[in-house]
């Protein structure tokens, strides 16, 4: 029978190889899916994985676009991972993303049309505050009343979505927009816009921020004692308490960090790629980031790579749609498959699997 035991020493080689195996498995089964749909599987896989990176036609544009698409995923996932390591489950990043965008959007639009240098930094602050405020609700409830934070943060996502719709139609609606829902386009308001830094690439401050954040969290979690505290809290909460760590403090801190990052990601998305507050502003980054966090094994460098991989499938998926006529739903299935394989294959990394002939001793005698 199969016995599973947690590994004591995580093998770094396995950690690095298993994602590759998962990707190859996905390519294989995805290829089968595409041929069922009557499309050339090799062509499809190539369009999804290879073309955005290497094709003459697309790569120059697509490569930086992958960074742009990955940036919010990475930012949010970094914050979430800190909490997840400490067994603190913030599932409401999507809502915090929205709130960050709403707060910063409101600030920017309040100043319109005057131009000042401080508007943009003020909006960044607004994004952080919005995200933190929204995340601190489940945080306080958990630390004070031990309320299940998964469900509270999830409920708050729905509430935030309603608030977004309401703001798009009412409070923040563009008075010069022919009555259509949606705010003024902040890209056209220089003080508030988040324009591309390298011309033609679309790379904006959010991308820079994301890279800085990866480096920052890598250092924080590896070398700084905060990282140790988080890991301790996650692995052995009682020991942590004995060591003097206050539960309340850690919980609030983790929620604040993830809320802040989600909120600021929302702000950069709003002022950069998205441009305006609209009813459909949120496209699920908050949830995808949860998956990215896990794929990256809650590790900043891993998150960076996982975010880039997810972004690649989005960008490549779009190309395969108009080049090969692959339906959007097939790309969704493909991404789901990728996640399944990546999540499942992790068992090899985390646990030791052995086969033995002996039966487990039954306690039921």
């Amino acid at each position: 029978m199969i016995q599973i035991r947690p590994r004591e020493n995580k093998s770094n080689l396995l950690s690095a190889v298993t994602p590759v195996i998962a990707v190859i498995l996905t390519m294989f089964f995805g290829g089968i899916l595409f041929s069922f749909l009557g499309k050339n599987p090799f062509e499809a896989i190539k369009l999804i994985f290879w073309d955005p990176l290497m094709s003459e036609t697309f790569a120059d544009y697509a490569r930086p676009q992958i960074l742009v698409k990955a940036a919010p995923l990475i930012l949010i996932a970094l914050g979430l991972a800190v909490g997840f390591r400490a067994n603190i489950w913030n599932i409401g990043a999507e809502g915090q993303f929205i709130m960050g965008a709403l707060f910063s959007g409101a600030i920017g639009l309040a100043f319109y049309p005057s131009e000042h240098w401080f508007i943009f930094p003020l909006m960044i602050t607004g994004g952080i505050i919005g995200g933190v405020l929204w995340a601190i609700i489940p945080g306080i409830l958990k630390s004070r009343f031990n309320t299940n934070e998964i469900l509270v943060s999830l409920m708050l996502v729905y509430i935030a979505e309603q608030a977004l719709a309401s703001a798009s139609i009412g409070l923040l609606r563009n008075p010069e927009g022919s009555g259509f829902p949606g705010s003024r386009n902040l890209n056209q308001y220089p003080s508030a816009s988040n324009p591309e830094i390298i011309s033609g690439s679309g790379i904006h401050w959010g991308v820079v921020f994301a890279f800085l954040a990866v480096w920052f969290f890598h250092y924080l979690l590896k070398n700084h004692k905060f990282g140790f505290h988080i890991r301790l809290f996650g692995d052995a909460p009682r020991a942590a308490q004995f060591a003097g760590l206050k539960t309340e403090y850690i919980v609030l801190l983790c929620f604040s960090i993830s809320g802040a990052l989600a909120g600021v990601a929302g702000m950069f998305e709003l002022t950069g790629p998205a441009g305006a507050i609209t009813i459909d502003f949120n496209v699920g980054y908050g949830f995808t980031a949860i998956i990215v966090a896990f794929l990256g094994r809650l590790n900043p460098i891993g998150i960076l790579l996982a975010g880039l991989l997810m972004a690649l499938t989005y960008v490549g998926g779009e190309i395969s749609q108009f080049m090969l006529g692959i339906p959007a739903a097939a790309i969704q299935v493909f991404q789901g498959m990728l996640l399944f394989f990546l999540l499942s294959i992790d068992v090899i990394v985390k646990y030791q699997i052995s086969f033995s002939k002996t039966k487990a001793i039954s306690n039921k005698s």
Binding site: E43, V68, K69, A165, I169, G179, P181, G200, E318
Partner: protein, 357 residues
């Protein structure tokens, strides 16, 4: 096993590097905000237009499309990639694509853009939309004449000018033939949510409506009307299949003639940026066949009204009309100007209830 995969990958790489020349003279791309669907809906109708282009021009034109494109950054990227891959013309079929269209158009001045329902143009960006409200006048007339309960239910999506225009046009036409008419309007705040639309239809029917009009995208309301034995009017496509007894007629978005025309102009070099707002006359807004359930005299009236609007003899908004608050809007014989129509944010007098803010 792994070797086969390697060979496959190398093969496809080689194939990819070979530049296959396009036989077509023109590559036309379409982006849709939702999945296209099989029989009905806003995006389905646009896709019909695309297919018409293929039929009309055969080998000279190659079309492609991307569906379920979120408005915003993703739209910009998709259009950019289309432009990079050699597309000469791109149809962006939703209002929310407006800014992305302008951005991409600026970067690719040789690519022609057609943006549906937008208002921003440039040298290589044209806009187009249909005067659906003209169709609403006709269905309003039919509803006003045929209702037994004097109550008409209206399922509205978002409080934007286009939707409000439709409500007003239908109401005015219905009121003109039936002074006792009452409109019950429900805002569902979605373009597409079959369950919600079904609920809205049920609610309206429960409240006495025996005519259902919708400005949403699914066939749920029509199905509900069929189930409950009331009449309804389809939207965007002919929904007769879902309401063989219920559907009296449907407003059809017929983009095909416009698309074929514009692609033709692009092919022969006469394409120019323009703003097109066509209605019943050129058939951009059309009505499906009138159901046999409509009595022949009413059918004739409706057809006459249709023809009158199409010929320009009658305008859907002809005064005297006051706004809902009683203030005068159009004096006797005066017709509404396009500007007011485009920004319409008020109900006309007689409609009860408020437009959500």
């Amino acid at each position: 096993m792994k070797y086969i995969k390697y060979v496959g990958i190398i093969l496809s790489l080689t194939l990819g590097l070979i530049n296959i020349g396009y036989a077509a003279d023109l590559k036309v791309g379409f982006i849709y905000v939702n999945p296209v669907g099989e029989n009905t809906g806003w995006d389905y109708q646009h896709d019909l237009g695309r297919k018409a282009v293929e039929t009309a021009y055969g080998d000279k034109v190659e079309t492609s499309y991307v569906e379920a494109v979120p408005e915003g950054a993703d739209a910009e990227r998709v259009m950019t990639q289309m432009a990079l891959s050699g597309h000469d013309m791109i149809f962006a079929t939703s209002f929310g694509f407006m800014d992305p269209v302008m951005n991409v158009a600026a970067k690719f001045p040789n690519v022609k853009f057609e943006h549906a329902t937008g208002y921003k143009r440039s040298d290589n960006v044209a806009t187009y939309s249909a005067r659906f409200y003209e169709g609403r006048s006709v269905i309003g007339h039919i509803a006003g004449r045929m209702t037994k309960t004097d109550t008409i239910g209206y399922i509205a999506s978002y409080p934007i000018p286009e939707v409000i225009r439709g409500i007003n046009a239908a109401y005015l036409a219905a009121k003109a033939v039936n002074p006792n008419i009452k409109f019950k309007i429900v805002w569902v705040f979605t373009w597409f949510d079959p369950a919600k639309e079904a609920d809205a239809a049920s609610t309206l029917i429960d409240q006495g409506a025996d005519m259902i009009m919708q400005h949403t995208d699914s066939t749920a309301a029509m199905t509900k009307a069929e189930e409950r034995g009331v009449y309804a009017f389809g939207q965007a496509s002919d929904m007769g299949k879902f309401g063989p007894n219920a559907q009296l007629t449907s407003i059809i978005d017929d983009w095909a003639p416009y698309y074929v025309d514009r692609v033709g102009k692009a092919l022969n070099g006469t394409w120019k940026s323009d703003d097109t707002w066509d209605g019943l006359a050129p058939g951009m807004a059309a009505l499906s066949d009138f159901s046999s359930k409509i009595p022949s005299d009413i059918r004739k009236e409706a057809q006459d009204l249709h023809d009158a609007i199409a010929s320009g003899a009658i305008h859907s908004f002809t005064g005297p009309i006051n706004k809902q608050d009683g203030s005068p809007w159009l004096s006797s014989g005066e017709t509404a100007d396009d500007g007011t129509l485009l920004g319409m944010n008020f109900y006309v007098e007689g409609i009860e209830g408020n437009i959500p803010q």
